[in-house]
């Protein structure tokens, strides 16, 4: 490293950025979350009349041209536009000034669960209709999931480690966890990380309808995402980006950075069970929380809040509840466990990062977000899900789970500094 710097072995969060269905910006989203707002509605961006699920939590308050060059805004896939915006926000929020002294020590790890599906769908249609010579030269660069990381590095001149994580719905959490490890082992002093996703398009919705994992409550979209509720019938698809600036603790302190919290634990395991269904014994989910606690050097008693994966599918919510009870024992009943997917739906590769940011804001403000649409208790889901209304409560340690198709499990623990 050109900087004469020894890694402290501790990693803190100094910047955050959000693009969600509740708004473009951290405070817009967070105030909506704390108020239990519900942005779910009929899909408006394309004709969904033939789809079995016709509802989503779409990002509407967003124009890429407000954030990037007009030509780029028109061309890039939406997942890149979200990533560009989230990362720009997080970097500005961190106050980290990128210059020739530090740019080779600052990296990017922006995960994307799928990549440029809309780009792929549109260009495939062009090829079918006009032959291969009609395919845009931008198909490949704007479809590949790693382009979010590449793009951010180009825009901000960040020349440190640059990679991408693709672990479906665990992507955002794995990205943050891996970025944390990169800083911890001394390969970078700071990382721009998070997750981004834009799956609400023709082929994306077609694919997820076929998996039969989404809610079909088309006539009552506001009540469709209902994690842990007995009447839940699947997830509501969402989109957006959560981005964080992670920094070596000493580096952040030396520049007088404002610190949201410390990343203290990261677990990652596999179910090795089924391509889309979670293990009925929740073995991977149990081990991932235990691993994060062990690496954090924390006992289960120290956790004040759990932001659950809580997708609103029959399997996930039951198995995740089972896993939490296994890991935390009697204390499981005393920890507030909420799913912010009840409001934002499930933004797949972005969700783990968005929810990590909610953990940090819960720590900052002493507010635990609610699980809205909680009406009918399910005997299999008997924890304190912070039903319907946010709660004022001091949070020192917050844990968040993310589980993805493929059987990927990720868990992050944040601690107040």
């Amino acid at each position: 490293m050109s900087l004469e710097f020894r890694p402290s072995g501790r990693v803190v969060v100094t910047g955050i950025g959000l693009v969600t269905a509740l708004g473009t910006g951290v405070e817009k989203t967070w105030s909506g979350i704390c108020a239990g707002e519900n942005p779910v509605g009929p899909v408006e961006s394309f004709d969904v009349s033939e789809y079995s699920t016709r509802i989503a939590a779409e990002v509407k308050d967003f124009d890429a041209a407000d954030w990037m060059d007009k030509k780029d805004a028109k061309r890039v896939d939406r997942f890149i536009a979200f990533a560009h915006t989230g990362a720009s926000m997080a970097l500005a929020d961190s106050g980290l000034v990128v210059n020739d002294e530090n740019r080779c020590e600052i990296g990017v790890l922006m995960g994307a669960g799928i990549g440029g599906l809309e780009m792929l769908g549109d260009q495939h249609r062009r090829q079918i209709e006009g032959g291969p010579s009609r395919v845009s030269p931008f198909l490949v660069p704007y479809m590949i999931p790693d382009m979010a990381s590449g793009w951010i590095s180009i825009v901000h001149g960040l020349k440190g480690p640059n990679i991408c994580v693709v672990t479906a719905c665990a992507t955002g959490a794995n990205a943050i966890g891996d970025a944390y490890e990169i800083i911890k082992r001394g390969d970078a002093v700071a990382m721009v990380t998070g997750g981004t996703e834009a799956p609400i398009n023709e082929i994306g919705m077609g694919g997820f309808c076929a998996v039969r994992a989404m809610s079909n409550r088309n006539d009552d979209p506001k009540r469709a995402s209902r994690p842990f509720d007995k009447e839940r019938d699947g997830f509501v698809i969402g989109e957006g980006c959560g981005s964080l600036v992670l920094e070596d603790y000493d580096y952040a302190v030396a520049r007088g950075a404002r610190i949201y919290g410390e990343v203290v634990g990261y677990g990652l395991t596999a179910d090795a069970y089924h391509i889309t269904q979670p293990d009925p014994d929740a073995d991977g989910a149990i081990r991932v929380m235990k691993m994060a606690l062990r690496k954090a050097g924390l006992s289960p008693d120290s956790v004040d809040y759990i932001n659950a994966h809580g997708t609103s599918t029959a399997y996930n919510d039951r198995q995740e509840t089972m896993a939490i009870k296994n890991v935390f024992g009697e204390r499981a009943y005393k920890i507030p466990v909420s799913s912010t997917k009840s409001m934002l739906g499930h933004s797949l590769g972005a969700t783990g990062a968005v929810e990590a940011i909610f953990c940090l804001l819960a720590i900052r403000d002493g507010i635990v977000p609610p699980t809205i649409n909680y009406e009918f208790p399910d005997p299999d889901c008997d924890l304190d899900y912070v039903p319907n209304v946010a709660r004022k409560q001091k949070v020192e340690v917050a844990l968040t789970n993310s589980f993805g198709f493929g059987g990927h499990n990720a868990c992050l623990i944040f601690k107040k500094l």
Binding site: K70, K71, S136, P137, F138
Partner: protein
């Protein structure tokens, strides 16, 4: 084919300018006949491929890869398309 036939030089130029403005997101007044796509209008190699595809669609013509190097400026494009009328 044939869309180009019967089109006046002024019509071809107007369409080339319109396509260039759209594809490269540049201001209309920048798109002079002398303007080079790469040097003056900021196009990189991928932009050029996209631009040529847009010309093909707009004028209903085929521009082989080997000919693309001839289309350096706005005026080159107009002349090339005009010659395709033959």
């Amino acid at each position: 084919m044939g869309i180009v036939q019967g089109m006046s030089d002024a019509e071809i130029l107007a369409k080339v300018i319109k396509v260039t403005v759209e594809e490269l997101s540049v201001k209309e007044e920048e798109v002079t006949e002398a303007a080079s796509f790469t040097e003056d209008l900021g196009a990189d190699s991928l932009d050029v491929v996209e631009l040529v595809m847009a010309f093909e669609e707009e004028f209903g013509i085929d521009i082989p890869d080997d000919d693309v190097t001839q289309l350096k400026s706005v005026g080159d494009a107009v002349n090339y398309i005009k010659n395709k009328q033959g």
